[in-house]
């Protein structure tokens, strides 16, 4: 079935060249062709030049995370013993991985881990979140949802939305609470962090992942472990923001 014939356009029998070209002279087509041509030539170099010109700079923490002072945590300054855990593939030199073990043998959970990493290289990729990487490590995800945590001592954003995950490990279960802190704002997903650090305006860029982890028995309730993780998260964040991470004024242009 013949539907149309391009030859009619290219080799008209009884038309002049103006009528042949008429379909190509519409304003919308000419404008679009011009815009596409211009974009093909100039858009990519232009945007890359802008990107280079406005590249954000790294900024160091006010106080190294290795100097995180556990004795400043009101609920953990006594009755808990600190031990540092060596990092494993975290792509940053600025971190604190601290295990707090209860001195009372009867206390449950017996230990809780604070895991803080700090990134300031504009080329740094936002790391995988525990919901992805714990599963690769052998954990089975039981549930994941948002949870609101009140942070004492913060002038702004005193309530933070963090992610609460429950995992089943071999022989025990695990609670993980995590959130990101990017350019002075709390964010609870990688995409939110990327959006925040991408916003133009600031001179410097940084983001941090703050994570607390505790275990509980397979047949036990997760509530004590969740409460302990929340407590450590809240108290640690308060110190991290007020003493370690750069202030909003420091990152401005």
């Amino acid at each position: 079935m013949k539907t149309f014939d391009l030859r009619g356009l290219l080799m008209p029998k009884d038309r002049n060249s103006v009528s042949t070209l008429r379909p190509l002279l519409s304003a919308g087509f000419l404008f679009s062709a011009a815009v596409l041509s211009l974009a093909a030539v100039a858009l990519r170099p232009g945007v890359e030049a802008l990107s280079e010109h406005y590249t954000k700079e790294p900024i160091t923490v006010r106080k190294p995370l290795s100097e995180f002072d556990v004795s400043r945590l009101p609920s953990f300054r006594s009755g808990w013993t600190r031990s540092d855990i060596p990092p494993d593939d975290i792509e940053t030199d600025e971190y604190a991985i601290i295990r707090l073990s209860a001195e009372q043998p009867a206390q449950m959970p017996k230990e809780v881990v604070l895991f803080v990493t700090y990134y300031s290289d504009p080329e740094s990729k936002v790391p995988h979140t525990p919901d992805v990487c714990y599963r690769q490590g052998g954990a089975v995800l039981k549930s994941m949802k948002n949870t609101t945590i009140a942070i004492p001592g913060l002038a702004q954003q005193s309530k933070v939305t963090a992610r609460l995950l429950l995992f089943r490990q071999r022989g025990y279960n695990q609670v993980v609470i995590f959130s990101f802190f990017a350019d002075g704002q709390f964010r609870n997903s990688r995409e939110q962090v990327r959006w925040t650090i991408g916003k133009p305006g600031n001179r410097h860029v940084y983001f941090s992942k703050i994570e607390t982890v505790a275990s509980y028995p397979t047949d036990g309730s997760p509530v004590p472990a969740i409460n302990l993780c929340k407590k450590l998260f809240a108290e640690a964040v308060s110190i991290l923001v007020s003493e370690h991470f750069p202030t909003k004024e420091q990152i401005k242009r």
Partner: protein, 303 residues
Amino acid sequence: MLSRQEPNSDKVAGAVARLVILLGLFIWMFRPELSRIISSVGKSSEWVHALAAPIMIALLAYHRRAALARRMSRGSLWGAVVLIAGLFVYAATTWPFRYGYFRDIAMILILAGIVLVACGWGALRLSLPMLLLVLLAIPLGDRIYARLIIRPETYTIQAVATALGRLPGVDTVIKGVDIFFESNLGRGVVALGQSNRGVRLLPAFAVVGVFVVFLQIRSIRRLVIVACAAIPIILFCNFFRFLCWGLLQVYIITDPTSAMPRNVSMILSLFLSYVLFVLVSSVRVNLFVDVDEDIRPQGAAYA
């Protein structure tokens, strides 16, 4: 915006000429992105369906040629607006927001603008399935994909482990994203080392569905029904793929390095998706009869 003065063949020829020129400019502009997509899909079986997408798009266009010819007009200026919006998204996702996937998605907006400015609203409407195929052919970033599939992968792994564990003489244990099995024939891990082993080929199943469903022009009501059934079908095909893989490993191939279980399960599950989408899009139930009868003469003319 149909011109009443132009003969139909001239109108179509003009629209096709505009479309070809603008698509040429599009390819010129996006050649780095297109070559990157082509090179990346060749490296991953997850996205290899992208190589078939151009053929599917050409086939869809061929099947719809009569309808497209009838609906082509002198184009709409709104196409230029859509095109500029696409370029803006492209620029913004290059700087300041670095989202590679959304930068690629901007190409679809620009393609929609091109079709609209060259051929008009009617042709754009008929081209939406082709644009959907382009969307499904664009690879999603590893980290975004890993995050999106957490829940379906968790449930699929649990379901497959349960199904395998109910077979006589087979015990299964889940550890992370691995299903460990033990049977009289041996022991092993299902799909050991395969990335996203619990959830793979979802876009490929979706591409099969889009192609099958839109090979004919169907009523809106049927499209709605198919759209509702699409996600369950895709998830079931994924479950079937992983179950086949497990069955083959438990009963036939216990060598974890063998590619046979992966390839066989992939082919079987893709075939299943084809069958299911054909069934859902063509089974005649009372709900559909009136609508399909209404459009059958039109559809027959297109074919």
